[in-house]
Symmetry: C4
Amino acid sequence: MNDPRPAPVGQRRWAIAEGYIPPDSTHGDDPRLVSHETACLLNANRCDAHVAITLYFSDRDPVGPYRVTVPPQRTRHVRFNDLRDPAPVPRDTPYASVIEADVPVVVQHTRLDTRQPALALLSTIAHAEAG
Amino acid sequence: MNDPRPAPVGQRRWAIAEGYIPPDSTHGDDPRLVSHETACLLNANRCDAHVAITLYFSDRDPVGPYRVTVPPQRTRHVRFNDLRDPAPVPRDTPYASVIEADVPVVVQHTRLDTRQPALALLSTIAHAEAG
Amino acid sequence: MNDPRPAPVGQRRWAIAEGYIPPDSTHGDDPRLVSHETACLLNANRCDAHVAITLYFSDRDPVGPYRVTVPPQRTRHVRFNDLRDPAPVPRDTPYASVIEADVPVVVQHTRLDTRQPALALLSTIAHAEAG
Amino acid sequence: MNDPRPAPVGQRRWAIAEGYIPPDSTHGDDPRLVSHETACLLNANRCDAHVAITLYFSDRDPVGPYRVTVPPQRTRHVRFNDLRDPAPVPRDTPYASVIEADVPVVVQHTRLDTRQPALALLSTIAHAEAG
């Protein structure tokens, strides 16, 4: 068999405690420059990754799961701005997220803030729950 | 039983070695744009999380604990700027923090620096102490 | 024997779920200020580290391995912009990466975005796959 | 005995693969705004932490150890710009670092880049070597 299947990369449960979509954008005519937050998902497996994202807020019950499928050996950079079902993500509102998958994945959190003409960026590998 | 209680997410002890609240803000009339640092706390459990934050400095004894309660299945993005008891957090002063909770939580550290008209952002998942 | 060989630092498998080389640069005449992404590799061992980078995309098969050798006790800050073999990394395209080495290394991911005259930076230690 | 000594926080070996002190600063008259990199060290123990920093480069042998003592229950935000013994850290030069301590500490890496009038910031918890 000449198909070397490496050990999976990542974990099945991840969390991002920060979350905030700025309410404004200076360069809003270019969708790439709209203020946004992203959960970058990497599925290095040879099967689909079925991902469920649950959002937590400071003053209301959790919302979710938002369901995302990442095809085998693909990455999906999911914009929280684009999540619609079961409900859009409110702007200008602190939130947090738990990401669960049925196979190991890797999750990284990024924000682009264009409230001012100059860009501001943040990113971090999410918290991986071992085991 | 139709209440699936997932395994808890996070750890009970976290640390942030960076810490610095810039002394100035360009957009200080909008509280969202005041230079600030945040400890984002996610409590995905079905019970309160009682959190104690201790601050460490370079030239004085630790200050704390600052006590914060995060309700069940909620997130709180705690601004270090807003901590008052037992003492306000000095501006323009390096510090670090240890965050301890009675149930597993997830902690992420973020700074917004608006000393210049352009925003600058940093963020990282805090150091989780295993076990 | 007066050669204290410390235990190795790092892991053999790492992943970066974020990846995006901005299509433009304001200060493109200075190569240091061209919008770019970097995988910073630290090889603290006393032997070469043979590193293989595989890139994952949202809409096509993975590309790689890109092969990089880091000499003993050296760091290499590899610009994804500079990777050529087996194929250049497309600009303005989301990607992710898995980094595998034959000895333990440490990997950190950084982006410099100069689409606007003001710089924007992000960085995170990559996800280390234990074991 | 009313002195609760908590378990130590952190690890004894850390690594930062990124490292770059920008050669210029727009606001160089204010030392806080000089382009710089910092290793933020938190020593939550009740004894001194003796820390040794070794720097790795792309084209020369490692330099170090730089020795730093962090008093009990203190943080020190060490600017790489200020390291002098055994040699200053070159500007405009990629490097990496390994940080070793005789007791557990927590390490976070931060860069402030003021080559342009707008600030740019990055930060990440360093890679903790378990065990």
